[in-house]
């Protein structure tokens, strides 16, 4: 009995019990459904063992959407709790768990996989490659991410959620003040998915450097690929810092070390430093690919080339360098003195310059264009002014003396949502709508899409702009309730209304998918948006080998070149080498999950067994002889005629 007690949730509530039942029922339903429809084999062959970058992308996409709803449910609960003063709907402990998981889920398990979905799908298509450099490793990355995400999510029903904030500052996150296993989940789930992220970074950089089609020099790459390249470079340099920080945090919690404790020389400030040395670059890992998507979309729907390609690239390079030099702005108030604050205040504001350049370049891309207001374009156009607000409030925060007043308040919360929602989330939804036809062969309904856009935009403004005001009125962030006398009840009510409107918007997305699956026409051709870059030059849906003939690229706008008489696909069909599917990545994901779970609960024997299992998989992989397979010319011809006919 004692053994099982540790798995109990320390602060149960009816909602948690209800979720347990719901999770149980869903799992049973999925298993029963798969068995009944005899889909196990299909699932295994086509998805769980796939190494195809396009399928992996779709799995990232589905995970990201699921996590969006998990994080969204947290969000609406928080806003409901704060809607009225002295609310008793949630108690402090639950509120703390909810904002912690909200932050982690949204950044690590929603935004990151969303970004990876597009990187996976688009990079090989945009550079004219057959797959990424290491397809098998790519699958491992995905399954590690997924294992981490699942591990983090079960904390809610097994053992208790983390409750020290997504920043997990020590000593609050240490054993003395966080006694449940929640923070163990945080440390280990992030470690596992972070490992996957690092591998993706290595994979994508290698792909972009080595696998570009003939003719595609670096300065002829589509902008999304450029932005991804830079984001992945940031990943490779930033994530190891997180790895170390998490390892030290884990050791403090499980092995009794004194890295961040308040005794025996421990130093709580070291965690804050390490966390933000990773954390600030992390926000740029998210935003740069988003910038890339906007660049593609704005160019397409302006019917024009992207304005200032070179300065776009230069500004991203500059941003990536600066992003490692600003981390202290997250704790100007730690007492490091006027000089340090001044230095970091200036470096932080400096980031606004390259960011501003990008904004102007998008604006000038509209100039002399022929602007079509499609759904992806609406998101991009909404992004420009809203993100500007987020950026300029960032500059305000960067003024360190003034930040003493903004820090830890709703003003800060408003700032980063103002950058992340119109910046990252809108970009993902825009990209989602824009590339949906490429992925699935039909369009999403434009009318429902427009409604969604307006609900999200209006909801966003209603939900977050009041926070700027309540922050200046002294509302600290992460408070589970406040008194009537504090005077910001109305503003919080407004935020709740906005959040509710946004929630409807997100539900509409699901409805849109359902509606479009049923009613959208299927005959849309390869390039339904009349886009300009290479990924639209292959068929819809994309065959597994991407391009039957390796393209010969002349500029970053392949389809415009074709219009001007360029021969994009010279030569004739040749047999194509493709990697084999493998079950190993999935199995490693499962073992990593077991490993993580054992670690969280300090169950050493299963932990050792799982560790051996992981190494056994690696050993097996090393000894395995796998030279992939070939697609014959005959098969290519058949596929091509079929796709052309369709």
């Amino acid at each position: 009995m004692e053994f099982f007690e540790r798995f109990a949730v320390p602060h149960p509530s009816p909602a948690i019990y209800a979720s347990m039942v719901a999770i149980g029922l869903t799992v049973i339903a999925i298993i029963a459904g798969l068995t009944y429809f005899k889909k196990w084999g299909y699932l295994w062959r086509e998805w769980l063992t796939t190494v195809d970058h396009k399928r992996i992308a779709i799995m990232y996409l589905i995970s990201a959407l699921l996590m969006l709803f998990r994080g969204g449910a947290d969000a609406i609960l928080m806003r409901a709790q704060l809607a009225v003063p002295d609310n008793k709907m949630l108690d402090a402990q639950h509120y703390n768990e909810i904002f912690t998981t909200h932050g982690v889920v949204m950044i690590m398990f929603m935004a990151m996989p969303f970004v990876f979905a597009f990187m996976n799908y688009l990079i090989p298509l945009q550079i004219g490659a057959r797959d990424v450099a290491f397809p098998r490793l790519n699958a491992i990355s995905f399954w590690l991410f997924f294992a981490g995400a699942m591990l983090f999510n079960i904390s809610f029903v097994v053992g208790g959620s983390p409750d020290a904030g997504w920043t997990s500052y020590f000593p609050l996150a240490g054993n003395d003040f966080s006694t449940s296993v929640g923070t163990n989940y945080y440390m280990i789930a992030l470690q596992i998915s972070g490992l996957g992220t690092l591998m993706t970074g290595i994979n994508m950089i290698t792909t972009i450097f080595k696998m570009r089609a003939p003719g595609m020099t670096l300065m002829k790459m589509p902008m999304f690929t450029w932005s991804s390249l830079i984001a992945n470079v940031i990943i490779v340099f930033a994530f190891p810092v997180l790895t170390v920080a998490l390892a030290m945090g884990t050791m403090d919690r499980l092995f009794g070390t004194n890295f961040f404790t308040t005794s025996n020389g421990g130093m709580d400030m070291l965690w804050a430093n390490l966390f933000w040395v990773w954390g600030h670059p992390e926000v740029y890992i998210l935003i740069l690919p988003a910038f890339g998507l906007y660049s593609e979309i704005i160019a397409t729907f302006s019917g024009r080339n992207l304005y200032g390609y070179k300065s776009m690239v230069a500004s991203m390079v500059l941003i990536s360098l600066l992003s490692f030099l600003v981390w202290t702005h997250h704790f100007f108030t730690m007492g490091q003195g006027a000089l340090t604050n001044s230095i970091f205040s200036i470096t932080t504001m400096a980031i606004a310059v390259p960011t501003g350049v990008k904004i102007f370049n998008w604006l000038f891309t509209l100039w002399k264009g022929k602007i079509r207001f499609t759904v992806p374009m609406l998101y991009s156009l909404g992004f420009i002014p809203l993100f500007t607000v987020g950026g300029v409030t960032g500059v305000m925060l960067a003024m360190s003396a003034a930040d003493y007043q903004y820090h830890n308040t709703m003003f800060l919360v408003a700032h980063f949502h103002n950058t992340i929602i119109p910046g990252v989330v809108f970009a993902m939804l825009a990209g989602f709508t824009y590339y949906w036809p490429k992925m699935f062969g039909f369009m999403l309904n434009e009318k429902i899409g427009k409604w969604t856009f307006w609900m999200l935009t209006v909801g966003f403004v209603l939900a977050f702009f009041p926070m700027y005001i309540s922050g200046l009125d002294g509302q600290a962030r992460r408070m589970y309730t406040y008194s009537e006398a504090a005077g910001f009840s109305m503003l919080n009510m407004l935020s709740f209304v906005g959040a509710a409107v946004m929630a409807f918007g997100f539900v509409l997305i699901v409805y849109n998918i359902y509606y479009s699956v049923r009613y959208s026409p299927r005959n849309i051709g390869a390039n339904p948006w009349n886009a300009r870059s290479l990924e639209w030059a292959t068929h819809t849906p994309v065959p597994e080998y991407n391009f039957a003939i390796t393209p010969n690229v002349a500029s970053s706008e392949a389809l415009r070149d074709v219009k001007n008489g360029h021969d994009l696909f010279p030569g004739k069909y040749e047999k194509i080498h493709m990697p084999n599917n493998s079950g190993l990545p999935f199995i490693m994901g499962v073992i990593f999950f077991v490993w993580g779970f054992s670690f969280v609960f300090a169950m050493w024997i299963p932990l050792i067994i799982a560790t051996i299992g992981i190494f056994a998989c690696m050993g097996y992989r090393s000894a395995e002889k796998d030279h992939g397979r070939y697609i014959s010319v005959k098969e290519i011809e058949d596929t091509e005629t079929k796709l052309r006919g369709a």
């Binding site: 200032g308 500059v395 305000m396 007043q405």
Partner: protein, 304 residues
């Protein structure tokens, strides 16, 4: 598009109505530091609104002028590479703005990190403010008294708060007197404030510190110096002494009301040794401290 403008208009009316009645705490300063910060905030809001409006204006112009529905079927947008002059302007204007704000920011940093301007020749009142889950302990070493969860301060006198924590990182914040600063377990930070207007102010821990965080607030009462002295006298006559035993009891996690003691806990439970960010150190030694790279000062507090 019309819908958007209508909504924006509604939004702005709502916010002005909401905020019109009472000034926001941060923008209603009662001391020199908060005032400096409020001025910086207003200044930056002004400049930033200019940027936002400029972007909105250009965007609107582009959307109205170049939307497809206004153009002929066969209009083919031209291919335009970047233009060095245009791009130089796009870089230049932000650079100028950032330089200007940097100057303001740096100046303000040195102001808020020092004894408030105009008070330099006065002896500051030193108060040790320490947090424990989820309370604030205020020790007045000179007066030899200690309070819990409320603060009495004289107006028109510089205040020097020495901050530290008996637990998680907290942040000491009295919005109307000035911005916050962290209180941590292994070093003392210093916050310089002053109050110019008598009154009652809200003070709280702004940094999340666990279950009782929301209620981790305290009341600040600023009174004229004479009244403050009276209060000290009164405390000395009426309050009971703070024993070590009593103090340990106070440290137990939980919430307490306000209470007052004679004597301070500093005698038997002194503040952490490492001192950081005090004005003297910063004004006179920051330069050598940073040029010398890893002086012992640096080691206390990780990489800068």
């Amino acid at each position: 598009m019309k819908l958007k403008w209508a909504l924006l208009a509604v939004f702005f009316t709502i916010t002005t109505v909401l905020t019109g009645c009472e000034p926001l705490l941060v923008l209603d300063p009662k001391g020199p530091q908060a005032e400096r910060q409020a001025n910086d905030i207003m200044l930056s809001i002004g400049i930033m609104s200019f940027i936002v409006i400029a972007v909105l204006a250009i965007l609107t112009y582009m959307l109205i002028k170049y939307r497809a529905s206004k153009q002929s079927e066969d209009y083919e947008p031209p291919h335009i590479e970047g233009n060095p002059i245009v791009e130089a302007i796009c870089v230049g204007i932000p650079v100028i703005i950032v330089i200007f704000l940097s100057i303001v920011s740096v100046k303000s940093n040195y102001i808020v990190e020092a004894t408030p301007q105009g008070y330099e020749d006065q002896e500051p009142l030193v108060i040790y403010a320490s947090s424990s889950n989820w309370k604030w302990h205020f020790s007045y070493p000179e007066e030899d008294i200690e309070t819990v969860n409320y603060l009495y301060i004289p107006t028109d006198r510089p205040l020097e708060f020495k901050l530290y924590s008996y637990g998680p990182i907290t942040s000491f914040w009295i919005p109307q007197l000035g911005g916050q600063k962290y209180a941590m377990a292994d070093m003392v930070t210093t916050l310089h404030l002053a109050a110019e207007v008598p009154g009652e102010y809200m003070g709280r821990n702004a940094n999340f510190s666990g279950e009782g965080f929301a209620e981790n607030a305290f009341n600040v009462k600023a009174v004229p110096p004479a009244e403050f002295d009276e209060w000290v006298e009164e405390v000395k006559e009426t309050a009971s002494p703070l024993t070590e035993e009593k103090f340990n009891e106070l440290l137990e996690p939980g919430h307490l009301g306000q209470s007052t003691y004679t004597g301070t806990h500093l005698e038997f439970s002194p503040a952490p040794e490492h001192n950081h960010g005090s004005s003297e150190q910063d004004e006179h030694s920051t330069d050598e401290h940073h040029e010398s790279g890893h002086s012992e000062h640096d080691d206390e507090h990780s990489q800068h």
